[in-house]
């Protein structure tokens, strides 16, 4: 029997607000434990939450970017469970009435496009962290760091529309790209600012009913997401084929072993005893706020990619690379606007610029060469002032020293000689000094022209414009 996997993803994205969801504490990552806390996020007696408006705007931004309907009324609810990283004994989340529902996201795998439904987006607060003592003095102790407690999150829940680990990866990447484009999440999977759980089941091809699902956790890179899902699909198929039954459970991915292992069964699952949070009024979102947020939406990755292909007539591949980040796309567009050369600009950015940046792991935001610098180089090559080979040398120098192209060219004396009068004299000298080769040329051995070019380059220290030399040589020799 052939099986098909059915996958739904739950993504948690930390929002890049300066302060927490319900209090004024900083959300900065990596500070000393428990330095970004106050009585509110510590859950001290009698304190009350006050909702962060910025976080609401960010959630709406994401909702609009993935074509969700923004609910005019949503309700914060308490998700009750005991854990030391949860100071109130409940997490403030949204349950039956989330801020947004019914969206979708288009993905592409091996050239095939597909739309993945988005069930809902809801807002919630993050929990803190537990650090377990490992040293001789603190073994057996657990330490609580509540800096992260109360940091705003959105949870984006997909429909079970995903049919392979590759699709899951493509969906995650597309989602992450959008979050970063919107500037509302840094997308860092290792720091946990972008986290993913996967619900995976399999069913015989053609079957309508879903199989029993397992929820996969602890996949903190795109690679692990793929590995975990692939492993889980195969595990479930093997289990069914050998006469077993998949049980509903939560499974943890073990990246060292490349396997998933049971964490808790359905019976052990928490009963979260959700109730509407009486400390917060229902969140009312006005039409004005939605349109205000909509007006701040940037062009999203897919739209930008498609526009680059049509507007600049560059290959889809180029467009994909150039729109990988909003900053790079902006950089490219500035270069094009100055040069009017979409393909040349793309070649320079994808070839030289990204090579240099990637060598250092540098972001385009911190690029030492401004877009106008790349434009200068392209214009110089096009105008014949320098050769393509020289240009690469100058470009690296610009990258290292942040000097302007013209200054480097001048200082190095790299200006190409394109003046026909000046070059004609040199051509004449070289031709006159080599009568043997002139004879060979006239006898039909036209490839000796390479010898003449080489001699002229030697004489001009490589500065002669090859195009002009070729033209002059032909005129001279064929005369």
């Amino acid at each position: 029997m052939k099986f098909e996997p059915v996958i739904g993803l739950e993504v948690h994205a930390q929002l890049l607000t300066d302060s927490k969801l319900f209090c004024g504490c900083s959300t900065k990552f990596g500070s000393e434990p428990n330095t970004q806390v106050d009585p509110i996020c510590l859950g001290m007696p009698g304190v009350l939450p006050v909702l962060n408006r910025k976080a609401v705007e960010y959630a709406i931004k994401m909702a609009l970017a993935v074509e969700c309907e923004v609910n005019r009324k949503s309700v914060f609810a308490r998700k009750n469970y005991f854990y030391p990283d949860l100071p109130k004994g409940y997490q403030i989340s949204q349950y039956t009435e989330p801020i947004a529902e019914r969206g979708c996201l288009e993905i592409e795998v091996d050239g095939v496009k597909k739309t993945i439904g988005i069930t809902r987006i809801h807002m919630e607060e993050d929990a803190g962290k537990l650090l377990h003592g490992e040293g001789p003095e603190d073994a057996g102790f657990s330490f609580v760091d509540l800096n992260r407690t109360g940091v705003p999150l959105i949870e984006i829940v997909s429909e079970p529309d995903i049919r392979s680990a590759d699709e899951a990866q493509a969906y995650l990447k597309a989602l992450r790209d959008i979050l970063i484009y919107l500037g509302i999440c840094n997308g860092n999977m290792e720091e946990g600012s972008f986290r993913c759980d996967a619900n995976v089941s399999v069913r015989p091809v053609g079957a309508e009913k879903f199989g029993t699902r397992a929820e996969l956790k602890n996949m903190n890179s795109f690679k692990f997401v793929k590995e975990a899902i692939d492993y889980e699909i195969q595990r479930q198929i093997d289990l069914i084929e050998s006469g077993g039954k998949v049980v509903q459970e939560t499974r943890l991915f073990d990246s060292a072993k490349g396997i998933t292992a049971s964490m808790r069964s359905k019976e052990e699952a928490h009963d979260y005893r959700y109730l509407p949070d009486p400390d917060l009024l229902p969140l009312m979102v006005s039409d004005e706020l939605v349109s205000e947020v909509r007006s701040t939406l940037p062009e999203l990755p897919r739209a930008k990619r498609e526009r680059f292909v049509t507007e600049y007539a560059i290959p889809a591949y180029d467009a994909g690379v150039l729109t990988a980040s909003r900053d790079l796309a902006g950089y490219y567009e500035q270069v094009v606007s100055e040069t009017g050369e979409p393909k040349l600009s793309s070649n320079w950015i994808m070839g030289e610029l990204l090579r240099l940046l990637n060598e250092e792991g540098r972001d385009v935001k911190d690029c030492p060469i401004p877009p106008s610098g790349v434009a200068d180089i392209i214009k110089m090559v096009k105008g014949g002032q320098i050769s393509g080979k020289m240009a690469k040398e100058v470009f690296e120098e610009m990258y290292r020293t942040k000097k302007a192209a013209a200054d480097i060219v001048k200082a190095k004396g790299l200006t190409q000689i394109s003046d026909e009068g000046e070059l004609a004299k040199i051509v004449e000298e070289i031709v006159n000094a080599n009568p043997d080769n002139v004879a060979k040329f006239k006898a039909g051995k036209t490839n000796v022209i390479g010898f003449f070019v080489g001699e002229i380059m030697k004489a001009t220290k490589g500065k002669a414009n090859p195009g002009v030399i070729n033209k002059l040589l032909k005129e001279k020799l064929e005369a």
Binding site: P39, L42, G43, M44, P45, G46, V47, L48, P49, V50, L51, R78, N80, F82, P84, P87, K88, G89, Y90, S142, V144, D271, R273, Y274, L275, P278, D279, L280, L281
Partner: protein, 485 residues
């Protein structure tokens, strides 16, 4: 002259005329506390040093002519309000050593108004109870009869005000916890509209019902305090952002033509005849002042207690989850692992009534029961609120007894939680509807136990409630009656 017998209004006038000082008044109260606290046990913590330095500061303000009506007035707070630097226990072992690093908004407002805080009053643990017998530390006794309870949960506040241990105290009312003890102790107790006074820093029992308010010796004093504590608080999202009226300005207006609704469902057969008699007489007084009595109906009244014990316990089970031994408060030492620490800490830290309510609330929120209990209760709550909206179409205030009986004997209802829950039968609907209510002394039983008249008003209409209560108080003949201790 004994300064402790004065109302806030009277003492404030004397302070302003420099006939006495806040330090003198504070000392008089501290002396009184020393004299009677051994009998009444109304306080968990008394803070004489802090009180005297607040009094000195108040005297400076008064000397500079910058006094507000509460400047220099010695008051107390139910031990449910967080006070910066002063331990706040909620009368629970769980918080026995808890010293908050912040003030509740109303503690801050009262301090800013120049009030002198004498200490923290005893209460039922986490405000759960109707007799103050559920305090983890000691029972508070009714100053009118030391073998009786002062009511609850703000029993310490009511007893302290009645026993002249403070000029007023701040209480909280979730299902009657200000009004019922006020009734039991013969003082005035006002529960404002939900959202009129900030809940920030007030330790939560049931967040959608809890509201802070004053216990005082006169209606006028209650208006003075409400003036100081009412208003929007950006730290409390549920506090209402509308202007605060001048409560004293309308206080003395006539009640002529005021329509007083008498709910059919609250005057039922089997009611304590002494209570009923007193309330009927009080209504006659109001009628003689020109008020018009009209019958109204609140048809869902019979469900109020059931709805209340589902909603309040559900919220409480969540609100009290934070007391887990991890961050502050009690943690048992002998625990062997996380789950064991939770269990032992909560077992040792909470009393029986608190545990009972946490279990009730946890149950009603559990998967499979939520719809039948919590959700259904929330729906019926809306019906109860609608009842009041409907009734207030034909009246301005609603009058009922505050409690079905006068103060009962200590220990009488401890073993019978259901009877204890019925002590709040007349006060609970008001919290479910979020409307304001007041209890004002309206007579005594043959055994000289106080009886309270409850007046309920429209949402945000504290003015009318205060006006009616004030009119009754001036003509009822009970003002200034004090227990002998």
């Amino acid at each position: 002259m004994d300064l402790t017998t004065l109302t806030i209004k009277e003492l404030s006038e004397k302070l302003r005329k420099k006939e006495t000082s806040s330090v003198e008044a504070t000392k008089a109260y501290l002396k009184r506390i020393e004299a009677v606290e051994g009998k009444v046990h109304a306080f968990v913590t008394v803070t004489p040093d802090e009180a005297l330095s607040m009094a000195e500061a108040a005297d400076k303000r008064l000397a500079a002519g910058q006094g507000a009506p509460l400047t220099g007035i010695p008051i107390a707070l139910k031990d449910i309000f967080c006070t910066r630097g002063v331990r706040t226990t909620c009368s629970s072992k769980m918080l026995e050593g808890f010293v908050p690093p912040y003030d509740a908004t109303i503690a801050r407002k009262l301090k800013e108004a120049g009030a002198v805080i004498l200490g923290k009053n005893n209460m039922d643990e986490f405000a759960m109870g109707s007799s103050t017998e559920n305090s983890a530390f000691h029972k508070t006794l009714n100053p009118w009869a030391l073998d009786r309870v002062p009511g609850g949960s703000s029993g310490g506040s009511a007893a302290a005000v009645a026993a002249l241990e403070c000029a007023a105290s701040m209480g909280t009312d979730t299902g009657g916890s200000i009004r019922q003890p006020a009734s039991c102790c013969g003082v005035v107790g006002l529960k404002p509209t939900y959202g009129r006074v900030s809940r920030f820093g007030m330790i939560a029992f049931a967040s959608s019902l809890d509201q802070a308010g004053p216990l005082t010796r006169s209606v006028e004093d209650a208006a003075i305090i409400l003036q100081a504590i009412a208003g929007h608080d950006p730290s409390d999202s549920t506090s209402i952002d509308t202007p605060v009226p001048d409560y004293l300005a309308s206080l003395n207006k006539s009640v002529k033509g005021l329509k007083i609704g008498i709910p059919r469902e609250y005057f039922i057969e089997g009611m304590d005849p002494e209570v009923e008699g007193s309330i009927r007489k009080a209504l006659d007084v109001l009628k003689s002042l020109g008020a018009e009595l009209v019958e109204v109906t609140l048809p869902h009244t019979q469900y109020a207690v059931a709805v209340y014990y589902l909603v309040a316990t559900a919220e409480a089970s969540s609100n009290l989850a934070r007391y887990d031994g991890v961050k502050y408060g009690l943690r048992t030492k002998e625990a062997g692992g996380l789950l064991d620490m939770y269990k032992r800490t909560r077992d040792a830290g909470f009393g029986d009534e608190v545990k009972r309510r946490i279990m009730l609330g946890t149950y009603s929120l559990s998967a499979g029961y939520y719809d039948a209990y919590y959700k259904k209760a929330s729906q019926v709550r809306t019906l109860i609120k609608n009842d009041f909206d409907e009734a207030f179409k034909s009246c301005d205030v609603i009058a009922t007894p505050t409690a079905p009986s006068a103060a009962f004997k200590i220990g009488e209802r401890v073993e019978d939680p259901l009877t204890m829950y019925l002590s709040d039968i007349f006060t609970i609907s008001c919290n479910l509807a979020g409307i304001p209510g007041i209890s004002v002394p309206a007579g005594f039983t043959k055994e000289n136990l106080p009886i309270g008249l409850q007046l309920l008003g429209k949402s945000m209409d504290e003015e009318t409630v205060l006006r009616a209560a004030h009119a009754y108080e001036l003509s009822g003949g009970w003002l200034g009656r004090r227990p002998t201790l």
